[in-house]
Amino acid sequence: MTLADRMLSPLEHDALTELVNIGVSRAASGLRQMVGGEVLLSVPSIEVVSHKAAAALIGEREGSDLVAVRQDFAGAFGGRALLIFPHGASLDLVRAVVGDLLPDAEARSLEHEALAETGNVILNGCLASMANMLERPVTISLPQVLHGDGATLFQPEPGDDDGLVLFLYINFSVRNRRIRGYIAMLMDLPSLAALKLLVGDFINRVMNDDTVGP
């Protein structure tokens, strides 16, 4: 990952992973409250890649039939956050959230809404806790459900085609359903530079915190 190497030092990479870990842990707890059941979320890996590589990566792994929940965020660092599922997995998630008792047709009619809400819980929890950890406020837009392939989802906004994607692989376990998905944060270079600075601050705080406590 030369891009990631250029962007983040190994320690920064570790720190970012921990930040995301904290974020998805929060999100999982939110989701847990929402579905009233066991929810486990984990992030095995994060990568920093270009838009094109992100699209290729997800295309290679999941094909072109994708569903995503999109939320834009702004603040000290800003960009676009995407929670991406392969098409089948999104239905599984909806089914996990709304429960097995609902008839299929009804579950399907709820899909859009359920996805938007689930996405909001996860992305919001993730972003908010990261902002919290980095001690910077972030405003987050309302969720939007998108369908399409990697290229569509990762199409850069006009003017920020030099941006990068923070690409997170996540495993979900909701009520014993195993669901995989991705979180992608599309940020332009200034935002990434700001994030890098904040991550550095976070590292300093943790390292200098001899008492080790919040």
């Binding site: 320690l11 570790d14 720190a15 921990e18 930040l19 870990n21 904290i22 842990s25 929060r26 999982a28 707890s29 984990s42 095995p44 890996s45 990566l57 290679e60 792994r61 999941e62 094909g63 392969p86 997995a89 806790s129 950890m133 692989y169 495993n171 195993r178 669901i179 995989r180 590292i203 943790v206 390292m207 915190d209 001899d210 008492t211 080790v212 406590g213 919040p214």
Partner: protein
Amino acid sequence: MTRSAHRLRAHPVADGLDDQAIAAAWAEAEALGGPMLVALRRSAMAMVLTDPRLPDNPIIDINAAFTELTGYAAAAVRGRNCRLLQGPETDRATVAMLAAALREGRAVRAELLNYRADGSSFWNALSLTPVLDALGEPRFYLGTQTDISGARRIGSVETTLRTQARELDVVRERLRLALSVAGAAAAWEWRIPERLVVGDERFAALYGITEAAAAAGISPAAFFAIIHPDDRARIRLAVGGMLRGAEVFSKSYRVVLADGECRWVQARGRSVNDAAGQPDRFLGALVDITEHKRIEEQLRIAQTAGGIGTFEFTYGFATVAVSRHFCDLLGLHPAAELPVATINGLVCPAHRPVVDPVTRAAAGDVTQREFEIERPDNGERRWLTLRGEYLRDTESADLRLSGVIYDITEAKRREAQLRTLNGTLESEVEARTRERDRLWRLSGDPFLVADQAGRWLAANPAWTEVLGWPAASLVGRTSEWLEHPEDAVSTHAALTRGGGESRFEGRLRTAAGDWRWLSWTAVAEGGLLYCVARDITAEKAQALALAEAEARLRQSQKMEAVGQLTGGLAHDFNNLLTGVTASLEMMRTRIAQGRYDALERYIVAAKDAASRAAALTHRLLAFSRRQTLAPKPVEANRLIGGMEDLVRRTMGPEIEITTRLAPGLWLTLCDPHQLENALLNLCINARDAMPGGGRLTIATDNADLGGATARASGLPAGEYVELSVADTGTGMAPDVAARAFDPFFTTKSLGQGTGLGLSMIYGFVKQSGGQVGLVSRPGAGTKVTLLLPRHQGSGPGEAAPAPPVRLPRARPGETVLVVDDEATIRMLVADALRDRGYAVMEAGDGAAALELLREAAAVDLLVSDVGMPGGLNGRQLADAARALRPGLKVLLITGYAEQAVVGEAALAGGIEVMTKPFALDALGLRIRGMMDGPPG
């Protein structure tokens, strides 16, 4: 250690394996082995053909794939035993097993370590199959070789891998037991609000503190203190995350124990929140994984070396943990985790998925299968083998599939090649049949099927093109109506002559009325004649034109040589004449002085000069006489000896001439005149190459050419007579030498040569079954060598020197009439005859002679010159004289053996011819003979 390949390369290649023998062996092997062998030979499968009937079962030939595999070219292995592939580490027992199978004549397969020409080794899956002859005895052995080094390597790595995987599982199991039963893991409870880490007794042991101190709790700083400095920041960050809301902790890192020893540990933990949802406690445990790490490292090395990708899939999970090489093999970006769907999505339809999340197996089951994938990065299709084992997961109690994959595309490809070989053969036969049919219709060569009586049954469309007759008018009858009446062999007769296969040429009439030459090949099979004819009319015409042109060229070449000679000869002749005339003058002087005793030396000198002049003219005449190639046994040394004089005169004084003639030189069969012509031409070329003088060497030798030397000269092996002409002249540049034999190629300026000399020589020598060689370097002279086949018959017959005879004299009254316009000759002849006792009359021309004949009472014999002025030549005079006196004997003397003038038919009837110059004694003998013979 000496590489076996080097040692073996010094081995001599058996003789006798020339191209013909190899081709014959193939033909025989293919006849015995059938189309399978033909296809094999052409296939990408390496193969050798050996002949067990020759000593040490040598290789007869190999195919191109063998060279590709082993690096040995065909020439390097022919005649050698297959063991040239063996080397120091080749298993002797396997070799012995192969040898035993060969002795018993049975087929055998084995895998053994072989060595290439460059000394590198490879695992060879060898298959030896006897090709049996009609008696069931092995006639040949066919060996096929497949490089299975890749599979071998994978095999051995896999064994290691399995051992290590088992070890790993043992370790894991031990860990699990340690964790669950004995509490071998050091456990801690991080009380977040109190900033205290409380540990159990193992934690105390690990940290080198008392159990009590551990139970009381240590500071977070003390917790981090034993972590290896390189890992500390990472772990502090991870713990920092846990303290700030992260739920799961799983890290491996190094700790440095009190005694300084460094150990790898795996730490896992979870956070527990308080009622408000804030992190309250962080529970963790760590186990020593040093051994585990070591094995993992070995495993990684083994995997990388073997090109093996590993994966582990736990049932219920959506992802598969994979190694980097696993991703490489699938053509995916490197990742530690891959979605199941991603991996399975690469598998080509009709193959089972790599990981089947639905089908369950029992712990301990082993799965192995091959499947084909399409790589997403380059679209290439590859074959992979998967081997996996189902294990009970120690953590989730779920089943997990732990396995490896490796690439087997190459092995698959070879396998497929072999499998399709048979199929290919069948389709080839089919294609050939179709081809034959297509050939019949499309060929430009006329094809014909006829019955045994020569009646045409089917003719292909090409006939109409060649002869202009519609096919319908050709079939149903024999070819007799089309044949040329003057053909030596009728086409119909040749066709029906019988025998398996016949070849002949004949002419057939076209619809337009002209003639076409056809070259036929007819094969009798199943009561029918299958014939292919080829229109060779153009070739025939060309050949004829060529022959004529060649004859003309040869003649012009001769004339050119004569022209070259004339200058030298004129000069020579004048010298000789001077010798004669000067001698005569001296004789007259001495006679006038009365010194008769001094006459003899002048007589000898004059006679010598005259006979040398006679030899010169003889040779010149013989040389310019038009000759077709008339081969006779030739003694080259004698021929050269005979022309040495001529050569010497042609060369001039500045060129030294050396002859090195091998004693006991064999005979050769060729046209002596052409050979003379050839040598003379070479000498003239040599002279022209030495304008400033030099040395000309004419040499002969016997040459017994072995296979290789003969092949290099383009000749069959055998005995040859070698003639060479070498000069010390200017020599030729390579490009000039290369074209030296081309017709009309000359370096001489216009008018000095036709450029035909060497090409004519080349033509003559080739026609005589020999070869011409030329060696030349600028400034170092030129040597042209003629090789002519040895002739085993008897020699040309030595003209035995005539025994001294008693000079015959005239019987009383015998009268001779001598006619010659040249007074000197007339006088000499007349005086010589008078000396021998004849009565002699003389006449200066034909008319005077006839006059005398009418008047004189008795004339027994007429001696007349042939070429005479005055309207009556010798021949006409003879006829007229015999009209006057029937039965008159006539001797014509001529300086020119002009048969046309003399008239061959008349020679039988008492008219004889004698060629000038002649010795007077010879004349006397001839006349005596005629006088004693029957009347004309």
